[in-house]
């Protein structure tokens, strides 16, 4: 088969799998698992084959007219454009999706809604692959929105809990808030560039021979940035991502760590010339990235829910990628995207095992259990590896990709644009202020990242107190997936030498200055947290029982006695989510004095735990006015409109009652009236005839 055919099959197979899963899931439960795993797995293999055949050479394109639009010059085409970025991201998506599907067969094996879940994950995978391969902005938008709706359904998978319902709605609304400007931006870009083909736009903008320029690059870039911020959870539209952790853990791994949130970054990388055409857009991008990085790292340090820590860290790592794009180095951005996708998926999947083993998702509760690491050794070791990668400790994958980002920022600061950015950015320069912003925020975030990774590791696996409850061993399939993902987490960074061939050719090798600085900061962060934890909190934790932490001690999850309701390794994650708020009075934070983050952050802790009150700001700015308007409309509807409606109805009722009195049922009365009427008519006719 030609590479083109294979490339078409890559998004098509999961889509067919999803359709088949949705149609047959209920009737043929035996086929659900193969239908979920096999198409995705095949698609991943094909993606690898496509990537190997493409091999970073000239981009492979193909197009078929999908539908004409009103403007003949602007057709919508079913086009794909396979360059190094696309094929590598597709490999990432395929591999992570396969891992998640396999993991889900174990994780959700008792879930009655597994068929629809698996089909939605397949559909989501297909949409993401469509986004990755598509060369047409409108087709890309279709995949983009399909991902949004799949995300909505999957976040709301545990719709029995109010948290999941609220989170799915929030995810949907917040991303849509970004998608509306995104759509406008896509249309504006298409009409200004005269085509919806991304490759054509990029070629026209980047080629030194053409003098083509966008008329309003800043407006278009900012409109597109709104959609990207929504999808990639960048400030200020990131608030949906931590709440989206109410979904199942595999969903968090697939959607909210590895793929969907990466779609925004990938989109900017594809259209980077549009952004570099506007200096203002690059500065905004840098500012957004910096705020997102630092803020989310601080918030991650204060979270109590394991998954929310990881969610905020995702937001922060995406900030790194956006930062790389702000300094116009898309190679570094996509490199970090790929490595982050792998180790964050691993982190989430390991966290799923951990939550099941501990019976809770609260770090405060885990820090009072000992021996959790022994219960789930596979999760312990893989999570350690992934946390090291997250903290950018050499030689793990995260180190190299993060150093590539920081190196790109350093390039932007130190000198004229050379090297990686020159290839794509063309004549447009990267402002030094953007470079400085990204570099400083990146270094600060490196420190904070190491700190919260250390805190997570110490609290989760080195707790002291009662023995962790024995809830059975996780299924082997889940452990296997963890180790499969651990491989690239350790080794993927070494690809930095080979990757530039796939990308724009700029070097991705770590530079000495930033490497030493960042690694030093990471080590410092780890040591600080460890010291605080060791000397202060470890003792405090022993003194402060869990009951003192809980807002409602009666409802405290009792780790020592799992009770007969959890006899095996199937503690529902939904229980863990549902109990957290009831126990600690807050979905995000636990009021635990033994938490090292409390000492480190001091007064900042309270704000960081609540995501710096951004939700409150949203409530004040958007929710309350909307509610007030809704109340006004309701009042108008009830008191004004309904008055007319009721009046109309009441009049008809009165008339009906009057007429009804005549309906006595007495045939003689009817006949009498009838004859009297005909008599009147007859008399009238006679009088008229006589008078005429």
């Amino acid at each position: 088969m030609t590479t083109t055919t294979l490339a078409v099959l890559v998004p098509l197979l999961p889509f067919l799998g999803a359709v088949a899963g949705l149609l047959l899931g209920r009737r043929l439960p035996a086929y659900t698992r193969p239908l979920a795993v096999l198409p995705t797995l095949t698609s991943a293999v094909l993606a690898v084959v496509v990537a190997l055949r493409q091999g970073g050479d000239e981009p492979l394109t193909g197009a078929a007219l999908l539908t004409p639009t009103g403007n003949d010059a602007l057709p919508i085409e079913l086009a794909f454009h396979l360059d190094g970025f696309a094929v590598l991201v597709a490999v990432l998506v395929g591999v992570v999706a396969s891992c998640v599907q396999i993991y889900s067969t174990g994780y959700l094996r008792d879930d009655p809604r597994y068929p629809s879940y698996a089909a939605l994950v397949s559909l989501f995978t297909a949409a993401m692959l469509l986004v990755v391969y598509s060369d047409d902005l409108i087709v890309l938008l279709v995949g983009w929105e399909v991902m949004g709706i799949c995300s909505y359904f999957l976040v709301g998978h545990y719709w029995e809990t109010p948290a999941a319902r609220a989170a799915s709605l929030k995810a949907f609304l917040v991303t849509k808030l970004g998608d509306v400007p995104f759509l406008i931006g896509v249309l504006a870009l298409g009409s200004e560039a005269g085509t919806f083909r991304i490759s054509t736009i990029v070629t026209r903008l980047a080629s030194p021979l053409s003098s083509f320029e966008l008329a309003h690059p800043t407006v278009i870039a900012l409109l597109l940035l709104a959609g990207v911020a929504g999808k990639s959870a960048q400030f200020p539209l990131h608030t949906w991502l931590p709440d989206a952790m109410a979904g199942p853990t595999p969903v968090s791994a697939l959607i909210h760590a590895a793929t969907m949130v990466a779609a925004g970054v990938y989109f900017v990388a594809r259209l980077l010339p549009v952004f570099t055409a506007s200096t203002a857009a690059l500065i905004v991008l840098a500012a957004v990235a910096a705020v997102t990085m630092v803020g989310s790292a601080l918030a991650a340090l204060a979270q109590d829910d394991v998954k929310r820590v990881l969610a905020y860290s995702t937001v922060g790592q995406l900030g790194y990628m956006i930062g790389a794009l702000a300094v116009a180095d898309r190679g570094a951005a996509v490199f970090h995207l790929v490595s982050h996708g792998v180790f964050k998926a691993l982190l989430f999947l390991a966290a799923g095992v951990l939550i099941h083993a501990a019976g809770t998702n609260s770090l405060a509760a885990m820090s009072r259990m000992s021996g959790l690491a022994k219960r789930v050794p596979d999760a312990y070791w893989t999570m350690t590896v992934a946390l090291l990668a997250l903290a950018a400790v050499p030689p793990f994958a995260g180190f190299f990709s993060k150093e590539a980002v920081l190196g790109a920022a350093e390039h932007a600061v130190t000198g004229p644009v050379t090297g990686p950015a020159a290839g794509v950015a063309g004549a447009a320069g990267v402002p030094a202020v953007a470079g400085w912003t990204v570099l400083l925020a990146g270094l600060l975030t490196a420190l904070l990242t190491a700190a919260y990774a250390a805190r997570l590791w110490l609290l989760a696996f080195h707790g002291r107190g009662e023995e962790a409850p024995d809830l059975g061993r996780p299924p082997a399939v889940m452990n296997t997936v963890l180790w499969v993902l651990a491989g690239p987490t350790i080794a993927a960074g070494l690809l930095y030498g080979a990757l530039p061939d796939w990308f724009d050719g700029g070097s991705l090798a770590p530079t000495l200055t930033t490497s030493v600085l960042a690694t030093g900061l990471a080590v410092a962060g780890f040591l600080t947290v460890h010291a605080v934890w060791r000397h202060g909190t470890a003792k405090a934790a022993a003194r402060v029982p869990l009951g003192a932490v809980a807002a409602h001690p009666d409802a405290a999850p009792s780790p020592s006695s799992p009770g007969p309701s959890v006899p095996r390794f199937s503690t529902s994650e939904v229980e863990a989510i549902a109990t957290h708020q009831a126990v600690y009075g807050d979905i995000a934070a636990a009021d635990d004095p033994a938490d090292p983050a409390r000492r480190l952050l001091g007064p900042l802790h309270r704000h960081a735990a609540r995501g710096f009150h951004l939700d409150a700001v949203y409530a004040a700015v958007a929710v309350r006015p909307v509610r007030a308007a809704a109340r006004l409309v309701r009042f108008l509807d009830r008191e004004v409109v309904d008055t007319y409606v009721n009046g109309a109805g009441g009049t008809a009722r009165l008339l009906g009652a009057a007429v009804r009195r005549a309906q006595t049922g007495n045939a003689q009365t009817y006949l009498g009236v009838l004859l009297a009427g005909s008599l009147v008519l007859a008399v009238a006719a006679a009088l008229v005839a006589a008078g005429a």
Binding site: G672, L675, L679, A682, V683, A686
Partner: protein, 196 residues
Amino acid sequence: MSTAAAARLAADTPGFLSPTGVEVLFLLVGVVTLGAAIVSVTSRRLVHAALWLVVALGGIAVEYLLLSAEFIAWVQVLIYVGSVVVLLLFGLMLTKAPMGRSPDADSGNRPVALAVAVTAAVTLVTVVVDAFHSTWIDLDDGGPQGTTRVTGEILFRHWVLPFEALSLLLLAALVGAIVLSRRKDGRTGGENGGER
């Protein structure tokens, strides 16, 4: 009709003040008929009302005779006086109508009925008199018009098809009446058990 023509017509025809013998007889029988009809619709004894109806229908038969419609007069006597009234009497008996005076023979609709009837009567009589006050029926010349022979000839020469269709109608009515009044088998009659 202009007044002049009306006056000429009135001059041609005999006046109302000098009635012929047939006219006198017609009037007398008509008064009796009308009186019997009025008693029939106002009587509080239901059986008496039916019997007064016999008088009214018989009076109409006499009027037919006076109008020289001989065959119709006998048909009237045979069918109406002979069978219809008998049927009505049976109906009264089968529905257990009270034999004596029943104070509730008239419904509450009576004032309306009276008003409608009187108004209709006034209107109709006014119109009819106004239209036909000078029309004269010549009963004498041209021979009898309603003898059995004449009626038979026109009936079976010109009206055969409607006549046969009517036989079908009668058959249908017969079947319908039987179907309607037939008592279902296996059904208890309740308090009506002995009515047939």
